[in-house]
């Protein structure tokens, strides 16, 4: 091979390295999306509204309830998670002995599956579980508090909220903690020299600089919340319907593939709308950084 040829070839090397990964992703996302539309709206070669009618009007469909509970869960859980994560990130940004051990423990829940998290909290909250026995032996209650079963739906919701806070606050924490590390110590020192107290430093320097991380954490956490499944399914089954849970139920239990496909499309559409916001923000940040 002559030298100029080799140089031209060299120019294509990065594209050749990236192409397989990109092609794989585009196929495994593009094909299922197209197929989902077909499954949802085509029957025996013709257009059909059968699935969408079932979804919206059938008494056995829990679509609106699922949409309601998915959004409600996000609305209840996420603000609490952000508040706790913000406090923890500020706290762990201070240097103290044992900080690394504390960090490691706080992010531990990130590494376990949602199914396991649901089961762990079932262990805690079941009628003979740790929580009830502790309270009864302390004399706080005389009968166990029931968390599970359709007649205790409100308590099931509470159990899901507790589990989600325990399990997924770490996601928000990691993003905020990483963001906090980027806030330069020099700026804070300068503010200190000019007499800003701890609260002023927090309010006028740290929070504004933390805003991009905060936005990112909010959006990413909300994206995950749209897909909530394992925790809800292990703790409440269909008592508290959520979008992913109904997709699973329609597909695996009822073999309503077309209906399950619509659930998939709804989750995808909600996420893409939110993801679009994220990318717009990220792009701005990305270009500012000049990379």
């Amino acid at each position: 091979m002559s030298k100029p040829n080799k140089l031209i070839l060299e120019r294509y090397v990065p594209y050749i390295l990236i192409a397989p990964a990109l092609a794989y992703l585009l196929f495994f996302i593009g094909y299922p999306l197209a197929q989902a539309i077909v499954l949802a709206f085509i029957k025996e070669g013709g257009f059909t509204l059968e699935n969408i009618n079932y979804l919206l009007y059938s008494p056995s469909s829990k679509f609106f309830e699922a949409l309601y509970f998915t959004l409600l869960l996000a609305l209840v859980v996420i603000p609490i998670q952000v508040a706790i994560a913000l406090g923890l990130a500020t706290l762990l940004n201070i240097k103290f002995r044992g900080r690394n051990a504390a960090l490691y423990i706080i992010i531990l829940p990130l590494t376990i599956s949602d199914v396991a998290a649901g089961l762990i909290w079932y262990t805690l909250l079941s009628p003979n579980g740790f929580f009830n026995k502790l309270l009864m032996n302390l004399g706080v209650i005389s009968e166990p508090i029931y968390f599970f079963g359709y007649q205790y739906r409100h308590m099931e919701f509470l159990a899901i909220v507790l589990t989600e806070i325990w399990r997924a606050t770490a996601i928000v924490f990691v993003i905020l903690f990483a963001g906090l590390q980027l806030v330069s110590g020099e700026l804070i020192e300068a503010a200190e020299v000019f007499g800003a107290n701890a609260w002023q430093r927090l309010k006028y320097i740290i929070f504004p600089l933390l805003k991009p991380s905060l936005q990112a954490a909010l959006i990413i956490r909300t994206l995950f919340a749209f897909q909530v499944f394992g925790v809800v399914w292990t703790l409440a089954g269909r008592d508290i319907p959520v979008l992913a849970g109904e997709a699973y139920y329609e597909q695996v239990e009822l073999r309503h593939t077309g209906v399950a496909a619509i659930y998939a499309l709804v989750i995808a559409a909600m996420s893409v709308a939110l993801g679009y916001l994220y990318i717009k923000m990220f792009r701005a940040k990305y270009l500012e950084a000049g990379t």
């Binding site: 996302i29 094909y31 376990i112 032996n137």
Partner: protein, 281 residues
Amino acid sequence: MMGVGLSMEARPSPVKYLLLRVLIYALVSIAVLWVLTPFAISIMYAFVDPKQYYSKSVIIPALYTLDHVRKLLALGAYSAIINSVIVAVLTIVFSFALGLPAGYAFARYTFRGKDSLKLLIISLRMFPIIVIAVPLVTLYIRIGLSDSPLGVALAHTAMALPFVVLITSSIFAGIPKDLEEAGLIFGLSRAGVFLRITMPLALPGLAAAAIFTFIMSWNEVFIASVLTLTNRTLPAFILTSAMAATDFIKFAASFIMVLPAMIFVFIARKYLITMWGITLR
């Protein structure tokens, strides 16, 4: 006002300093206990003696048994664990075979469209990958991949791939370019430089990334339970079978599911924050 702030803040009195330390440790202890208590209780209850569990006065059991774990394994968890490991290992192989070259390209080359391509990978990472499961069922039945670990692994690869590209790219970016250039000057080919200089330096990071991928696949439940029927992975098996079993089986199930994740994460703990930072940013 400002002058007062300076004298107050710059040199806190010993008492104030001590109080602040106490406050910090108190708050950190609450957070640590909040995270660890459920873990500790669930591990204990996975081995609890049934009589002790039903006794109202026993909060911390004194008698333990391996029965629950044994029963769970006999119920089918054993083969589910094997399926889970097969799926996770295949996912690592596929996602690294596809993702590592892309990560290297993003770290080492400048080329037209680099920013847009990277942004595309980042936005694909945001895609709720569980939604591909339902449509894939029909495709898998047609091409004979339904109910197979390979089929689940292919879907898990789609889930893990964007993370692998971004993580490997940041690992390679952290290796000094000078070393590679020195290798080129001393007569190594590009491939030789990659194999004999870059890879050995990147290996610890890549191992941590592989562990990360393993856990992602090990924990995934929605795709696995939609795509399999008899060859369940562990979370899918537990979601369908263990949910109908006794409480003890559920306790044992959560223990078995959490254990490998904890061990692996302990091995890779040095990289944990950085890794999650990269994948979530």
